[in-house]
């Protein structure tokens, strides 16, 4: 429980600081936007208010994180031993690998090769990585069948032609 509270402090500090920087970026960008008539009806007016609010609320969040021990914990979180432990954790590795597979599927495969093939490759790789089924050939069968079912169901049922 105490550990969770401390992790929350780090989260508040880091996300608050990020939002302050992001808010400043939004303010600067909005200020540089073209003014057509007056500034209060210019395209940059409302985004500037959003930037100010993000900066202000982000600063409050960072302050809360700072006061509740975020800095001390951040030092610990940024230490080599913690980072090593974090990146060696099962859940972290799983998320990173799954995300990498999604990136390859969406940014590399879809649109370049046929949807059925792209999806079958992605699904087979993911099933095998997650050890979703005991036999490798079963993973391939499920992947191919689900890709084909999705493709033809959308094509014939809903008239949607997939890439």
């Amino acid at each position: 429980m105490e550990g969770q509270k401390k992790r929350n402090a780090v989260r508040d500090l880091v996300s608050g600081a990020f939002l302050v920087l992001f808010g400043i970026y939004v303010i600067v960008e909005s200020k540089n936007m073209r003014v057509y008539n007056t500034f209060i009806d210019a395209p940059g007016f409302f985004p500037m208010i959003i930037g100010i609010v993000l900066t202000g609320l982000g600063a409050v969040l960072a302050y809360i994180g700072f006061r509740t021990g975020g800095v001390t914990e951040l030092r610990e979180v940024c230490s080599f031993s913690f980072l090593k432990k974090f990146f060696m954790e099962d859940s972290t590795i799983r998320v990173l690998v799954l995300l990498a597979m999604m990136v390859i599927y969406i940014y590399v495969l879809v649109g370049r090769i046929h949807f059925i093939l792209a999806s079958a490759i992605y699904l087979t790789a993911t099933f095998l990585y997650l050890k979703a089924v005991k036999q490798w050939w079963l993973a391939i069968i499920i992947a191919v069948v689900s890709s084909c079912v999705a493709y033809y169901a959308f094509r014939l049922g809903f008239g949607i032609i997939l890439p």
């Binding site: 395209p43 021990g69 649109g111 699904l123 809903f158 997939l162």
Partner: protein, 504 residues
């Protein structure tokens, strides 16, 4: 009197469409789909609706409405299956249901709890749909008088109240989420001058497409969260008979009216959603019950409190969505996105352009609720097997379906990439404890807030608002939600600081 006759005419006309044979088949299939999706832990109603929005693209509007509402009603109730049989709520709104449902299942009354829960859900849905059909015409009349300032204040109120209610302690992250959503809505050319804003890549010129963004935030982010942990599911509860006896049925229907009113009321507050309604109703139910000692140990009354309220939220959430285009929950936001896809623009003008639409929605919700009980009679026992479906097989298939969902409406590869980006953003926000409901609301309301605010400023000062009753009320409620939220933040910060200093 003539107004009543006119509304009755709209009601009858809507009923003619809803009770058509094909429509009933669509609702039946959609409710079944919703029940199954809601029952599987990790698959939420919001995710299902996000994935299914684009499937409705090829349907006509009436069919699409029937389909989406059927899934919505089914998915909200479906969560009770895993809550009762596995002690794992299938959807967040079924968390309170697990408190009494699981002990009942352990006592060998799993079947009774499941059927009783579905029956309570049906009762709550029907009562709140009736309330919705009565209340909505009055709200339309008020909404038609709204000017630019009122629209802007409504958007701000939506964000602040949603931020206040979607987090337990400080609303700070809820508000920040809302403004992050506002920022995303600013991307692209603006509505007044076509001026470019934050166009990072040319494909963003027309702005961030709502549907791929929602699919990413509620689909990809959910898949990553579910696959992060390796919790195995095992049904170790007893099913028994599915029909409650007379005494149990009496307990189930005792909190019906009260919980329906709570659910409908909470549902009408932007972003509050089903889980808050369920917990509030459960807490009120426990304090008013004559058998409060049974709450948390297997009380049919407790089970009914949460299930009635979370389903009553569905029609409640439709009230602000239909009248003001402000969704009452994330699921209602998905429904709003689906309506936009079909060219239906909810808001004050809907009552003029399509006066039967609200009754179509209300009646479809009622029909879906009745069909859900009939289906529960047949499906309660087989559904237990579905609960144990292998999520490691299911989740990657969901990813494939998110790709299809994002691509379908515009046949754009960019939308698929955008969906993944929002999936990652959604995942990070969740891990950083930012609620996603205010982000969604900000994304939907950002454009309205921006245009209404700038036009209002050029038309006149905010002081003119004080002369209009609705304007003055809106200023008061916005100020109230801001001040109460700020006080909540100060209080929770002080408590955290005290704890931190104790720790030192």
């Amino acid at each position: 009197m003539s107004e009543l006759v006119k509304q009755l005419g709209f009601f009858v006309s809507a009923a003619g469409g809803v009770f058509e044979g094909m429509n009933m088949i669509i609702i039946t299939g959609a409710v079944l789909m919703g029940l199954v999706v809601g029952a599987i832990p990790g698959l939420t109603g919001t995710m299902a609706l996000a994935l299914l929005i684009n499937i409705t693209y090829t349907m006509d509007t009436a069919t699409a409405v029937a389909f989406m509402l059927g899934v919505y009603v089914g998915a909200v109730s479906g969560g009770l299956f895993s809550a009762i049989m596995l002690n794992i709520p299938g959807t967040p709104n079924a968390a309170a249901t697990a408190l009494d449902g699981y002990p009942l299942a352990k006592q060998g009354k799993g079947g009774k709890a499941l059927f009783g829960g579905v029956a309570a859900s049906c009762g709550g849905t029907i009562i709140s749909a009736i309330l919705m059909m009565i209340a909505t015409p009055f709200i339309y009349k008020i909404a038609l008088k709204f000017g630019k300032w009122e629209l802007f204040l409504l958007a701000i109120f939506g964000i602040t109240i949603c931020g206040n209610l979607s987090v337990d302690s400080s609303p700070l992250k809820g508000w920040l989420g809302g403004f992050i959503g506002f920022f995303v809505a600013m991307i692209g050319v603006d509505d007044i001058y076509n001026g470019a804003r934050f166009i990072f890549v040319p494909s963003l010129t027309s702005g961030v497409e709502l549907i791929p963004a929602l699919i990413g935030m509620f689909g990809i982010a959910e898949v990553l969260c579910v696959l992060m942990d390796k919790t195995p599911f095992k049904v170790n509860a007893e099913m028994g008979s599915i029909f409650p006896d007379k005494d149990e049925a009496k307990q189930l229907f005792k909190p019906l009216i009260r919980s329906s009113l709570i659910g409908c009321g909470i549902g009408a507050i932007p972003g509050a959603g089903e889980d808050i309604a369920a917990w509030m109703s459960y807490s009120v139910g426990r304090s008013r019950s004559k058998k409060k000692e049974l709450f948390g140990r297997g009380s049919f009354e407790g089970l009914a409190c949460s299930e009635t309220a979370n389903n009553a939220c569905i029609a409640g959430a439709m009230i602000p969505m239909l009248t003001l285009a402000i969704p009452g929950s994330t699921q209602a936001a998905m429904f709003l996105a689906a309506l936009n896809l079909h060219g239906v623009q909810p808001g004050p003008m809907l009552t003029i352009k399509s006066p039967t639409f609200m009754y179509t929605v209300g009646l479809t919700i009622i029909v879906a609720a009745i069909l859900m009980v009939l289906m529960a009679l047949v499906l309660t026992k087989p559904m237990v097997h579905i609960l144990q479906i292998n999520r490691k097989v299911l989740m990657p298939i969901i990813v494939m379906l998110t790709v299809v969902g994002a691509y379908a409406s515009r046949s754009s590869l960019f939308d698929i990439k955008l969906m993944l980006v929002f999936g990652v953003i959604g995942f990070i926000l969740r891990k950083m404890n930012f609620p996603l409901a205010p982000v969604t609301l900000g994304l939907i309301l950002g454009g309205t807030a921006d245009t209404a605010f700038r036009q209002a400023l050029t038309q006149g000062s905010m002081v003119s608002l004080l002369t209009r009753p609705m304007g003055a009320i809106l200023i008061v409620v916005v100020l109230y939600s801001l001040i109460s939220g700020a006080m909540k933040t100060v209080k929770s910060t002080k408590a955290e600081l005290a704890k931190a200093s104790e720790g030192k």
